[in-house]
């Protein structure tokens, strides 16, 4: 069976990608699926060769047939997203604001509005040595979605099955919305990365409740645990009261910043953060293998 392990966090910037890229190198025979598509950055850490590109077709957008439009401008009035503006006394659709809801088409007296889909980005399969990466890039103004994440995960799973990979590491979307849920759903295990800040603790509670609703087994990693010992203690107490296992703690380490700036894997530096991540890897191996 292929192990699907998602690394998520309620709060962004807690260290998901740093942990994920390191684990990707430590676990052999792994595919990394970068599902944080709003800020896809996993690929920056690897020196990959592009293997294959796919088109991502986004949501539908409104189009006006000016041959039929009578310029009554009712659509401008009714659009809830302010996506239709007046230009030269005619309605004009700002496709960045259009949510594709269909209201304008259904109220247009001249039936001049229709919908079509457009390419909203691309997703890729890349390789560095024996590490395979699936990641996506959206065009400006497009936002990430459960749909795109589902497609990235689908490609990763098909590759894993056809090329006999043991594991898919999902670098998840932060937050608790559609994108985070699409990163977690149907995985075998989840690692929730938090940090010792108030927002880290607050958002940890929120992502825990979502992960529990989806009934996925999970652990917590506390990053930058030595930033604020009283909050780290609160996180530990919270985890204890909820019966959540803490896989490990990573200290605040400036080498991580250096590694990111130099676009390198943290494993390439001999530093405290690296050592903690290797310990987490050892613990994790015991849990899932």
């Amino acid at each position: 069976m292929i192990e699907q392990l998602a690394i998520v966090s309620g709060k962004g910037g807690t260290g998901k990608t740093t942990l994920c890229t390191a684990l990707g190198k430590l676990f052999k025979n792994t595919i990394i699926a970068d599902c944080d598509v709003d800020a896809a950055n996993t690929a920056l850490i690897f020196k990959t060769d592009l293997i294959k590109t796919y088109d991502y077709i986004g949501s539908r957008k409104a189009f006006i047939d000016y041959g039929k439009c009578t310029s009554c401008n009712l659509c401008i009035d009714k659009c809830r997203f302010g996506a239709i503006i007046e230009k030269n006394r005619k309605p004009f659709i700002n496709s960045i604001s259009c949510e594709g809801c269909g209201l304008c088409a259904s109220i247009c007296p001249a039936e001049a509005i229709s919908f079509s889909v457009e390419k909203a980005g691309e997703y890729y399969i890349c390789r560095e040595g024996n590490i395979t990466l699936v990641h996506a890039q959206l065009y400006p103004g497009e936002d990430t979605s459960g749909k795109l994440i589902a497609q990235v995960r689908k490609i990763a799973l098909e590759l894993a099955q056809s090329e006999m990979y043991d594991m898919i590491l999902i670098d998840g979307s932060p937050g608790i919305g559609c994108a985070a849920i699409s990163s977690i759903t149907a995985v075998n295990h989840v690692i929730i990365v938090t940090e010792s800040t108030l927002s880290g603790l607050h958002d940890l509670r929120r992502i825990v409740s979502i992960t529990e609703k989806l009934r996925r087994p999970f652990w917590v990693v506390i990053n930058k645990f030595d930033l604020n010992s009283s909050i780290t203690e609160q996180i530990s107490k919270y985890c204890e009261s909820m019966n959540i296992k803490i896989l490990g703690c990573i200290p605040y380490d400036k080498t991580v910043v250096k590694a990111i700036q130099e676009e390198n894997n943290i494993l390439e530096y001999d530093c405290p953060a690296r050592n903690s991540i290797v310990e987490i890897y050892e613990t994790l191996k015991g849990e899932i293998l």
């Binding site: 979605s145 459960g146 749909k147 559609c178 849920i181 149907a186 989806l214």
Partner: protein
């Protein structure tokens, strides 16, 4: 009674799909006629697929759902539609239905 399921392929021996709203196919099994209907997932939406799929099943008269774990919005929608939901086993569509019918002595 109509039972809704998610499938990877269009056959009753197909594995159930482990994604709910983004499953490849939906299945509606009618226990009074023992008939299966397979439908390609019509929802190619970016957000909010879960509740749409619940609505889709409800409109087709489905009252029982055997599915992967539902997200929070799909759970709420299923409750509002008065649908009973059961967690699927990692087996085929056919086996899931059989297990459900035996368990509930239908």
């Amino acid at each position: 009674m109509k039972i809704g399921l998610c499938a990877k392929q269009e056959i009753k021996s197909s594995q159930v799909d482990d994604r709910f709203a983004r499953a490849a196919f939906f299945v509606i099994y009618d226990s009074s006629t023992s008939e299966y209907i397979f439908l390609q997932n019509p929802f190619d939406v970016e957000h909010g697929a879960g509740p749409k799929v619940i609505e889709f099943f409800a409109e087709k008269g489905v009252t029982v759902l055997i599915a992967p774990t539902l997200g929070p919005n799909a759970q709420k929608a299923a409750q509002m539609a008065g649908m009973s939901t059961y967690e699927q086993n990692q087996s085929s569509v056919e086996e899931n239905i059989k297990a459900f019918l035996e368990k509930h002595k239908i």
